[in-house]
Every structure is written in C-alpha cells, then in structure tokens.
Point group: C2
C-alpha cells in the first residue's frame, strides 16, 4: 500500500529582513516612545494613527507599465485591481490625511505619529524591512515659529528620554542659504530655476560625500575629477576655480566659524563684543550672563555673519539668513541657547526634499565602534520644512515642517549611555514542591500580585527541582519562594534571594557565605513583606 | 499647440475598509493597552512583538493552484516568488515564534502581544480591515493552573481599565464536557473519533444558533427540521428524540443550574448545605463568610454537579469536569469567587478550535442599542486551550492556552460607562496680537511647557483675532492668553477661562456674567501660577 503523501511541515522562520522583538526590547521602546509622546503632547501636538495600508496612488509611487509598482515598497493588487502598499514613512500618509480631512482639522495642524513603516529593500546587518518612526509635523503655517518650536521640542524630547544636556546638539541650517551660495557661484538663476539642474545635482552629491572624501576630495569632484586610492577616476563637474572656491568655502564654513569664535574668545580685544552680546541677550530674555560660555554666546552671531558673507548678493540667500536669525531669536526667547541648538552650515541632509530650514540632532558623546575606536555617536533625528506634499492632492501649496526621530538609533544611544538595560527584572517565581498544593502556591502568587509585585507559579513539570531553579535563572527572577511539606506543616515559607545568591556563589569566601545567608525562613503571613524588603534591597 | 497632458491628482482617501484615528482615539486606546500590559506583566508575562509580515506558509494559509492565496488575508509574492502576508491574528505568529526560538525561550513561555492585525474581508459598518488585538498566552504547559491564571488575569485586566467588579463576569466551560454529552448521546465514539463527524457538525452549528432560535428552534434543527417565520424549511439532523433530549438538556444547562441555585437559596432545608460550602471554602482559603452571596457560593458546586449528571458515563466528560473543578479551586484559592469567574455551560465559543477549557468575559451592564432598547453589553474577550498550533511546525504537540481581548469592544464599553471621554482637553493657546512680539509669546509658552502645562502659540495668520478664538475653540482649549501693546506696556497679561466663558455665554444672566468674570489680568510674572490655578479649578 502506498503511504499517503504528507504535506511538508512549514518552516518556522520570519521572512527575510524581519525579526522578532522580545521582552525588554519591546517595553523599553514603548517606554521611550511614550516619553516622547508626552513631550509632543505638551507642545500641543495631537496624536494621529493612520492605517499601515495606503493606496499606491496616495503614497506617491506611480505604477510603471509593469506588473508591480516601483521597488522600495511592499505592494499588491486588491480584488478590484487597485494597487495597495504598506506605508514606507509617516510623512506621505500625513499629507494624504491632511488633504482628506483638512476641513475638520485645525489650521495649523500639529500632529505626532509613531509606528512601524516598511521598506522593500535589501536587508543588511542591523537593517530591517520593518522599523519604527516617530514624527511630529506642523502643517499649514509658514511661520518660522513652527520651525523653532520643533527644534526646541526635539531638544526637550532627547532630555526627557535620558540624553543629558551637553550630550546632544540640534544643528540648524537653511536650504535657502545654500541656494544663495549656488546663486553667487553662478549655478542658480532665480529667473530660470530649471537651468543648471544637472550641475547642482553633481554639487549636492559631492557635498554629501564630505564625510568620506574630505574637503579636498569634494573640491576635486567639483573641478577636474578625482582619482581614488585604487586608481579609479571619477569625472568632475568641470566648474571653474572661482565656482569651486565659493562652494568649498561653504562646505568649510563650519570650521571657519569655529576658528573665528575661538579667536574671538581668546583675543582680549574682542571681549567687548562678547560682553555686548551677553548683555543684549540677557536683558532681552532674562538670561544670566553665566548661563553660556563665551563661545556659545558668540556662535550663532558669528555663523550668521559668515553665511551672510558667503551668500552676499543673493535674495534667496538673504531670505534664508533672515529665517535662521528669526529661529535663533525665537529659541533664545525660550531659553534655548547655542548649548542646545546652534546654527551650523554643515547640516546638508535631505537636500532634494526640503525647501527651507533643515535640522539634525546629533549626540556628541563618544562610543567605541566595532573595531574599538572611539567615534561620535552621530545623528539620531532630523527634519526640515517642505511645502509640496499636500499640493499633490489639492493643487494648493500647504507649508509644513516636521521632524523624525530615528527610534532604533536613539534606543541604541540610550543603551550605550547605560540608560536602559538589556534585560528587565524577571518575576518572583513560586516553586512547586508538592503538586497537590497548587492551590496554596496560587494563593501565594495571588497575594504577591495584589501587592503589585511581578510574580508567577512555576507551571512546568515540577518533578525536577533543579529545572525549576534553571527556569528562574532563565527568567531573570530576583527571588524564588520555596514551600514543601515541612514548611506547610510549620506554617512558614523559604524565600531565596537569587541575585545575592549568585553574587555569593561567584565571589564569596566560606565565611562571607555563612555571614550573609541568601535564604530566609519567614512565617507564611510575612511572605509579601519579606519579598518586598528583598526587592527594595536589590534595586 | 497641444497642451501637455497632466498627471491626474491622486485621490486623498484611505483604501476601502480602513480609517484614520485622531487625538483621543489614539491616546485612550494606548492608555488602555498600557494598563492591560501592566497587568499581564505583573503576572509574569513577557512582551513579544513579531513583525506584521509573515510567510503565508507560516501563517497556515496554503496556496491553492491560483495566482493568489486564500481570501481573508492580504498577501503578495516577494521578488523570490515567496508568498508573504500580513498577520490576521496574533496566535499564528506566536506558534511560529515559539517553534523558531523554543530553545532560547523559557518553558512554559508566558507572552503577551498587542498590535494591529489585518483581514482582507468585506468591510461593514464598524468593521474595519485593520484592527487591534491584545493577547496573552502560556505555551508549553498542560497544567490547569495556566488556564486559571489567565481567567484571573482577565478579571484583573478588566478592573484595571475601569470595569468595576460586578459589571463583568468571566464564564468558563470545557470543550471536553460537551464531548462527554455527545458521547452519552451516542454521537461520539472515543474508539473511532472520526465517526459521526458530520452529525456533530450539525449539532455544533445548531447550538451556535441558540441566541437567535431559542431552545425550541435548536431542538427542531436537531430532530425533524424547522420551518421559519417566512415558511422556509431547514432540514434537521434527524436525531432520535432521546439524543435530542440529551443535547437540549446541555443547551438548557445554564438555566437549569440557575433554577437549582435559586431554589436552594430560597429553601430553608438547603441552607445547611450553603453553610457547609461557605465554611469549607472560607476555612481553606481564609475568605470571610460575607464575601459572597449564598447564590454565588452555591453556583460552581451546583454547575459541576449538574454537568456531571449530563455527561455521566463518559471518560472525556469526567476529565473535563475534573479540569473545571480544578480551575474553580485554584481560582478560589486566589480569592476569585463566582462573583467574578463562574462555570457556565452556555459558553460555546470557537468550538472547532479549542481542545479543553474555553472562557469568555462578558460585561453585564445594559446599554441602549441603536433602536433605544436596553441590551446587555456582551462579550469583550475570550480564549481557551489549544494544543495543535506549534505541532504544525515541529511535529510535537505543545499544549497552550490563551486569551484575546477585543480592543475596540472594550474601548466602546469604557465609553459607554463614561470612563473615557470622546475629546481630550486641548492646549492653552497663547494668542498673537502683535506679530513682532512672537519671541515674547514663545517665551510665555516656553514657561508654561516647562511647568508641564500643555500649551502652544497660535501659528496661523494672526490678523483676524476672531480666527484665533475659533482655532482655540476647535482645539478644545481651556484657556487663551492675550497680550497686546497695552499689556506689554503695563507688564501684564490677560488670561481668559474659555470653559467658564462658554458656560456663562450659554446660561448666565447679565448679573452672573458681571459677578463671575471669565477673564483675568495678572502681572506677566504670575502667568504660570494663574493658568495653573484656573486649570485646577476646571478639572
């Protein structure tokens, strides 16, 4: 007789590029997002949760003449032939929501959103196809007060989750200043904005490589071209030496500003200017002179001067400078000085996307990289002003500004700073010595839970007591409760301090072991109190 | 010249069957889930978050020979031809996770999970294709202590979110008892379990219609058949009168138990039995006699007796009874009496799915339905024991028991009980009387936020003051701060109590209006204190 053909068993695995999150991984993220939501809420932002699925049309990925829409998103056809997709960020859905509900929403509309997004991209180490974003945006106002507010809120959010002041800085730049520099260099004609688009593209991509290539490498790419270490040659943009010089001076602006500030604070002859700035700011907004260092007091002023010099003669450049100055003033009025938020031309993020101010939160403490070398932690959040997303739906431009916090990066930073542990404390485990007394063990665990103490009865096979202790160990349990026939007869319980026990087992001499017992016998009625005492000692 | 063909604008709308959630809809759900997670955590359950996407294979929907897998899920083909799908519940992913990680997980593994799931089903009023689930399961133990624990945890969770004791009841039944009744009726042969499968199917479907057809309708369907009000005839299962009688006695069991309990509590001759029960229970677990009513004390005892009578002679029935009795004892030991958790044969949920105890949380208070008639709120959670899900992957049976809370139903119940409002309090709005003083307004709002008060500056066009007050109204703002040239000159601010203002505008006489001003002028330095005072008065 032929054997019946068996259905093969399914494989127990996540799809490629996805993973599971366990215990503390879930709860620490939730706690961090909750803390950030509290800050956003205090700033008047309202929660919004849109569904994970949008029409491909609304997301702005247009169908080419093939079976599937663009790479990059997870998409499929609905039963009525409509293409649906999982959201790839939280900004595209916001534009759709605002366009759809704008008559019912307040204007301006301040909203925050947090949740998973999905990218159909090649996964890599630490790069997953589902990850969290945490955004706040203000839609419907061109006021720089909205941009300033979001920078302040970002600083508050970082402090709220445990990044101390001094360990982060929010850097602010303005896309219009860069455009001004490009205009001065002859690479942007305000009368015909479509001219030199290709050249500007090369410039932007070159600037984006600053971290990797350094100033000289970028200069080579802007001019004749660049030969890398392997001898490969990349053709350059062919700009004139004067054009290259203008752009390099912008690329180098942050270092130049730093030098000017340093010189000024060291040069006695300039101390009058510092005093004047300090006096003016402190009078206007009630700061104490001692709040900031001389360098901090001078920084934004120097940066604005220097950028004005680089973009001199460009109307859009001047506009960008005025916006930066307004942001700095509004922030100073709320007490956010350059110790927290600084003007910094080196911020060049999302250049193709933003239309005005751009900003980035950087963590300034050092961590060791995978090769043990110290390096700055780097960026954990960024954002800026964008004006065209809602217009896709309505035809009307709606100015908007927003920020997105990189949830996984910020969590990694908090781990690096020791602000969150990798494992949470497990439950108190009530072990089972006599299967027939399960009701009594349940009564114990019930009392502990009523008292707000995380606790559980061992529910596996109780035969082997060693397995119960191994289970408690795997659970990270702080305490085991033990009660067998003798204890029931005497009306007592044994309470074992597993953390102290582990310490003693590792380090203690026999004498210490005798002096510091890690197991206590207490009357049954004292169970909850004794457990509470031990937990308090442990923490 | 032909006009260039324009890309049509995308429609700003969610896909069919999806919706957006705003403000309090998001935060009240998050707060409720957070409270439930706290209870689950206290019981020793660990968080698990698996990704939204699973392989279709792992989810257990098998591909037919067509282009798309079964209806019911959102599924698509990955670039390597693998079918992926959005999870449709949280139990199928748990089985995959446990099979994949079982060597690293504790056994038993207690886990909770909360998040959206997706169903590719026809949407209807109040029925969406994305909704939340909130589950807790214990995998890897056959102990009834796990089932009892989940019932107790469910009761605790309901009280934690705001359903008071007395307004809910967790009903417990056991699938094995029903099998025992079917065995006694000759519809289940333990030696050949595949026999009578069709008949049992008809019986189960008939019992499931009890709510709609009543006992007589079910009896007709089990026997000769049933003619409905329109004259249509449904053929019956053709069971013998004796078989029909056995099953109807089971269907009717809850009412019969209720009558027996009622008789016993009214009948003086039975009061000795009540006293005996009360004394035994209170001695064993330290209850006070007054904790429960006579009816409550008798209920579980009577239910077990009655079910034992109905399933007499069946081994599996006896097993089910023993399990129910064990659950009741374990719960009593933790103080969960029949005021919260009762044995109730009327629970027939998910009959095809569960293998042992099944349970359901019902809210017992009345609400008005859409036609204004009072009706019981009904079920908000359910679960039971299932043993076959992990075996799909590993070939080894792994016993498991779990519960799922209907997040939207429970939220609706909390709304009905007035436990959560439909709108949250908006931010304090600092209005803008003089655009050039924006830095000063920002300073005010900065101080309020530093003091933990939700506040914002009006960021729209400030020209029309009426629009600012309309904005404050739409935001649900409790207070508006007003400061123009006069106020700046005098060093004061105007603080307007918008809630009192609205009350006065609606109800007050002119005298009252004069006596109870809703607007205050205070020194600028007193801004935060005065706002705090007004907020305290309002709440």
């Amino acid at each position: 007789m032929a054997k019946p053909k068996k259905e093969p068993r399914p494989k127990a695995e996540t799809p490629k590029g996805f993973r599971d999150y366990f215990g503390a991984e879930v709860t620490t993220r939730a706690a961090m997002l909750n803390a950030i939501a509290g800050v956003y809420h205090r700033y008047g932002f309202d929660a919004l949760e849109s569904s994970a699925i949008e029409t491909v049309e609304a997301l702005g990925k247009f169908l080419p003449d093939v079976d599937r829409p663009n790479e990059g998103v997870f998409a499929w056809q609905d039963e009525d032939e409509k293409w649906l997709a999982l959201r790839y960020d939280l900004t595209a859905p916001l534009a759709r929501v605002y366009a759809q509900h704008r008559n019912d929403l307040p204007t301006p509309y301040r909203r925050y959103a947090m949740g998973p997004v999905w990218r159909n991209e090649k996964p890599g180490p630490g790069r997953f196809r589902q990850f969290y974003q945490c955004d706040a945006d203000t839609v419907g106002t061109a006021s720089m007060a909205a941009d300033a507010e979001i920078c302040a809120m970002l600083a508050d959010a970082l402090e709220e989750v445990g990044i101390p002041r001094g360990d982060y800085v929010v850097r602010v730049n303005n896309r219009k200043v860069l455009n001004g520099v490009l205009e001065v260099a002859g690479l942007l004609d305000p009368e015909s904005p479509d001219k030199f688009v290709a050249e500007r593209g090369i410039v932007l991509r070159a600037i984006d490589k600053l971290d990797r290539l350094g100033v000289e490498g970028v200069a080579a790419l802007l001019g004749e071209g660049r030969k890398d270490a392997s001898g490969d040659f990349t053709e350059g943009a062919g700009l004139s030496p004067g054009q290259v010089d203008s752009i390099i001076r912008f690329v180098h602006a942050t270092q130049d500003i730093a030098q000017q500030v340093l010189r000024a604070t060291m040069d006695k002859s300039l101390s009058a200017e510092i005093e004047q700035t300090a006096t003016a700011e402190s009078q206007r907004f009630g700061f104490s002179r001692e709040k900031f260092t001389d360098a901090q007091l001078l920084w934004n002023k120097t940066a604005l001067n220097h950028l004005g010099f680089l973009a001199e003669g460009s109307r859009v450049g001047a506009e960008g400078l005025a916006e930066l100055e307004e942001i700095a003033t509004l922030l100073a009025a709320q007490g956010y000085g350059p110790d927290r938020i600084v003007i910094d031309p080196s911020v060049v993020r999302g250049l193709g996307y933003y239309t005005g101010p751009v900003f980035e939160a950087e963590l300034t403490f050092e961590i060791l990289d995978e090769k043990g070398r110290p390096r700055q932690f780097g960026s954990v959040a960024g954002g800026g002003r964008y004006d065209d997303l809602v217009a896709r739906f309505t035809g009307q431009q709606v100015p908007a500004v927003g920020v997105s916090i990189g949830v996984d990066r910020l969590l990694a930073a908090l781990h690096a700073k020791g602000k969150i542990g990798s494992a949470e404390r497990g439950p108190v485990v009530v072990t089972v010595m006599d299967r027939d007394r399960m009701a009594d063990y349940q009564a114990m665990v019930g009392e502990l839970r009523q008292a707000g103490i995380r606790a559980e009865v061992y529910l596996g096979n109780p035969k082997n007591f060693g397995n119960q202790m191994k289970y408690a160990d795997r659970r990270g349990s702080p305490i085991a409760v033990i009660c067998g026939g003798d204890e029931f007869a005497k009306g007592v319980v044994q309470i074992k301090d597993l953390i102290l026990g582990a310490q003693i087992a590792e380090n203690a001499t026999v004498e210490e072991w005798k002096e510091r017992p890690s197991q206590y016998e207490v009357p049954r009625a004292a169970l909850v109190d004794k457990v509470r005492d031990i937990l308090a000692e442990q923490s």
